[in-house]
Symmetry: D2
Subunit: 373 residues, 4 copies
């Protein structure tokens, strides 16, 4: 299975990082747990299951002790994400980010709490030894899209064990894409969607920063699919009697090593929609389209010894912010393509099937219509 | 135990409804489940427990089928509420609102999902018989404040059974206040806090609408407590070696029968802080202060047969909106007082104690300093 | 000069209205005043001028007496728009919308005040005859993008006379596009930009509603221009030593006859970025990208005699909202193309020149690479 | 005329700075221009005038070259403030803040543009000598409340000369309060309102930072006035046939030398409502209640030579943010009292009169009912 960059078609302006993945941002790790069990008729609560959980770790130390600056943005809010209010107020992440199927969100959030409490046994209780200041509660951040077309979504089979497995699986370097983790049961433009990732590196004159995106793709009507400007969806339609898809959703995670404050990370979040739009999304009313961005450039201690922190922060000078914007847009666009190209056909609940986007035909259309050919 | 209105001190401008409770808004029900178990040394995961769950039902039919217009507002976002993104996007509630202890939120959200799926077996699956439109996923709305000072917060003992019990307990009329449900383990101004409620009725010339508030109070430093303008906290301090409280929080629920659209309910939400401020709150940095408002005046069908709905909506004429604002402010203020006055002393985890606010002394101070005396 | 629809290339999903213009929304009128004076070296305060003002009237009666529901959205907030706070709070427009050059905003806002006071002589003073309720102040809504590359922007030459002329010019039917009104001095992708408009009509099963967009285009780097997916900017670069453009901006106005409340109009606003992204915008950091949407389906009286208004409101059923979203996206995309195709080459201040996008070459590229050819 | 602190009543927790004024924040200056002309019957456009403009300078150098971090917050958005969108996007101020009467906002914004262009002649034009980056346009920030009860608000008599005079008048140290500048024609709780200011200094253990507030008070119904918890408005009503006041407004400006980023300044902004509520405000529907906060601790260069800026930033540790919150709340509360206590009776348009709050009676009531007496 080729990734988008293997199509020998390069419409992008900025070069990718080594792995063309969110893990090109130094320190970031990604892990998956995939639940692919059962076949045939849906038996509520017992499967079949095509679901999972994907975790993104800004670093692999104690996230609660060493929080990272972050921001969140809602493109269309028809979704059940957890943790956004505190993330916005404090501009920081204190757990890994987990992605899963829609109705799994509470159980995954609960699991992140369990794991954080294990590492930080005073959470929620109150006071450190000096009595000076306590451990507050912990704010798990979880995103979702619905995998109900292929999976027994009502069963909510992802909990503590599964989250623990995903975190145990986390690694830097190559990121598994397609039908894996939180992407196991999702659909994109009527085809099989899933997990995809990509990255961009800025020129040295703009600081040489890296930006990476990871998506859980689950949106779009077949006729809308556009790849690098080529309206694939007008020429290529998924086989079979595809039922009208549930209006879908996308989770977009952005990582960067640029030293940004939360407000600036929010600016990057708001660029993600521009990458999403390039793929043909029309942001349907029932779509839950959310973006979370974080920086690995500095950390925020849970119980700092000083009240001031001396940090290098990027100035909002337009060329660098502009270059970061472009990096976000291109990373998100390519990550979505990768989420489809790296997927495979999946048959799930009640025999419902999402087919793999046929790479050869896509390549042909791109060669025929793509202005880069 | 007297409620605030029993102090024979009436600083308010608007009259209360029959029960001076959120249930004065016709159709609204409130239910509690209280977990008050164990004593002595904290054994992580095993208690002691001073926690619970409180549910507010805009109506007691199928909330998913008959959603109600709603809005949410974050005063300070240091909290773990669930369901705010979709509530904001669609301006509606499709489950009861549940309040609980901070780390219980995911398990309570999960329980609301279970109950909603029971009532609506197609949730998350996709399509009704006609294939015209499916059941989307369900968005549970849960609020919280921390009861970690008195309770084993890490255990997260509130789940499906407890939520089911709270809903089973729901009734109109008198609302149990103080040490009950989600208020079992909370603190307010260093005293015992808990659940409180109050209501106001507008004059006929302003439509005669009713506004009710219900709070889960868990905020404030002892010296800040102010009741009807009298700085109680300068004269009355909780006994014993009160440890520095964890910066607290408050959940505020507003109900009304005024026919408001979501934008207007958002305006009411933003008035709640004015009632909160009257009690002496200084909205500390670690406070999770959230407001949810809903109207019972009309319903929004899950799968409407028409694309238009003909509704009477309040015009933003200033006198009526102003009167509703005042009703919100006074209801919230009095609900907070009730949450303390109706509480009793509670000793919990590790012998930690929150004392009941001494009513006699409060009354004396109000008589001495209150300008209404 | 052809409009986009004259290119005999139809990548869109929804049909346009009669004039393919914002004026296809019944009752909406558009007027321009164009200031095109002087040549040669910039003499601060004295020209040359390539600027103007464009007004969009939701109806041509007294807007202050008969307000319309509206919403505003900021894609990137590097801009000087007027009137957004009150528009958000009350969800309504009470003046025409005016667009102009950046530094003209205050003078145009002042002019809208003057005109509104003329029509409503009690504005800001207080009380009607009955004493029941007064006229509050008036909230002019003005958008802008910078025409400083071609025009003496510091001079701020657009004031009361010019706004009056634009309103006097307002008409339904065909809308003048390109180098006119607020588009006289703007640039788009390094070419001449300006005013553009387009519309879409929904199928009857989705209510048959009309959506129109009008843009003032002033953004983009040459290499980014994309038309219907064809990366024009990689093949066609503006002639001459184009100086690096000031990071640009866009104002997007959406009109519809669908009966939406302010929250729903806000949802439409947030779709506009998807149309913008299709043209190649990467939303640079210095961009002021703003959207205003209004509905003509009902009016909100300034001093209503009743406190309730019985209105048909669209339910947030997904297919209709989805169709409206698509209509917004396609209207915005095509309006931007029209703003460039209908422009002509303009030389302004200091001999600065923005060339007309060469239509023949664009058509050739679309035929060569467009998948619809 | 006594200030609040002269009443020998000290209900506050934190000490004031030297001048108990916003100018206690080092570098901050305040200037006024007062227009107090004409008497008798209103002649639209010709007076009488009871209006003016007040400017707050974060520093007295070139604000455009040396911007300061800032945030804005809307409590209730029924108002016509200028400059909020860009302030939110970039988190910075690049002009002085000006306050004036409602309909004067555009002319004052225009005047701030003129003055900024004088200092920075390339504004809006585009490029510095190196061609590296241009001067973008300038974003004037202006707040307002309505003085239409006493002044000919339709005339909009405050423009360039008046703003220039206010800036010329700006000084550190004692700030003139009451009937001056933007407070010349405003009303508060049916009495004469105006400009008021106060400050607080944090203990050394919380960094020793200073917080100052300045308000333009113009809100409230007579019966609601509360001073330090004493319901003055139930005992003391303005004489004469006070017409129902136009629902009023307040502008609140917060300055601090604490090194906060924009997100944190936003947190301080959101505490201002707690100070406002203490005075009895019920935030009526027609109220335009806005807050702007800035820090003087560091500056943001317009065209920085580096892309990174190394800054000490306050960590969001709760005790310090909590202390800053308290400082904001107390400063705002006392500033509002000062705006009334330092005012004098003013008769304006059509003989309309706002009486001075009688200090003796207020003191008596505070002694009688105040728990501190």
């Amino acid at each position: 299975m080729p990734r988008y960059s293997d199509l020998e078609h390069s419409p992008f302006s900025l070069p990718a990082g080594e792995f063309n993945a969110i893990t090109d941002v130094s320190g970031v790790k990604v892990g998956h747990f995939t639940l692919y069990e059962g076949d045939g008729v849906w038996m509520p609560g017992r499967g079949p299951f095509r679901t999972g959980v994907t975790v993104i770790l800004p670093h692999d130390e104690n996230m609660y002790e060493d929080k990272v600056p972050a921001a969140a943005h809602t493109i269309n809010g028809f979704g059940k994400v957890a943790g956004f209010e505190q993330l916005r107020e404090l501009g920081q992440l204190e757990t890994p980010i987990a992605l899963t199927g829609t109705l799994n969100v509470p159980r995954v959030a609960d699991a992140l709490m369990t794991l954080s409490i294990e590492q930080n046994p005073y959470i929620g209780i109150g006071f450190d030894e000096s009595g000076r200041r306590g451990y507050a509660s912990v704010n798990p951040v979880v995103g979702e899209t619905s995998d109900g077309f292929l999976s027994d979504i009502q069963a909510r089979p992802i909990g503590e064990d599964e989250v623990r497995a995903a975190i145990g699986d986390a690694s830097s370097g190559v990121v598994e894409e397609g039908v894996v983790g939180a992407g196991t049961g999702t659909s994109c433009f009527g085809w099989k969607g899933g997990i995809g990732t990509a990255s961009r590196v800025l020129p040295d004159k703009f600081g040489g920063f890296t930006v990476g995106a990871l998506v859980q793709s689950n949106f779009g009507r077949p006729q809308e699919l556009t790849i690098s400007g080529v309206p694939i969806g007008r020429h290529l339609i998924p086989p079979g009697n595809t039922p009208i898809p549930i209006p879908g959703s996308i989770m977009i995670i952005i990582a960067t090593d640029a030293p940004l404050e939360s407000r600036q990370l929010g600016r990057l979040c708001r660029r993600a929609a521009f990458g999403l739009a390039r793929t043909g999304s029309t942001c349907l009313g029932g779509s839950g389209d959310f973006v979370i961005a974080f920086s690995t450039a500095y950390r925020m201690k849970d119980r700092p010894s000083d009240i001031l922190s001396v940090l290098p922060i990027l100035v909002d000078e337009q060329p660098v912010i502009g270059a970061l914007s472009l990096a976000v847009i291109e990373s998100v666009e390519e990550a979505i393509y990768n989420s489809m190209l790296m997927a495979r056909t999946v048959t799930g609940r009640d025999g419902n099937t999402r087919h793999k986007l046929p790479v050869k035909e896509v390549r042909k259309l791109i060669i025929r219509f793509g202005s880069e050919s």
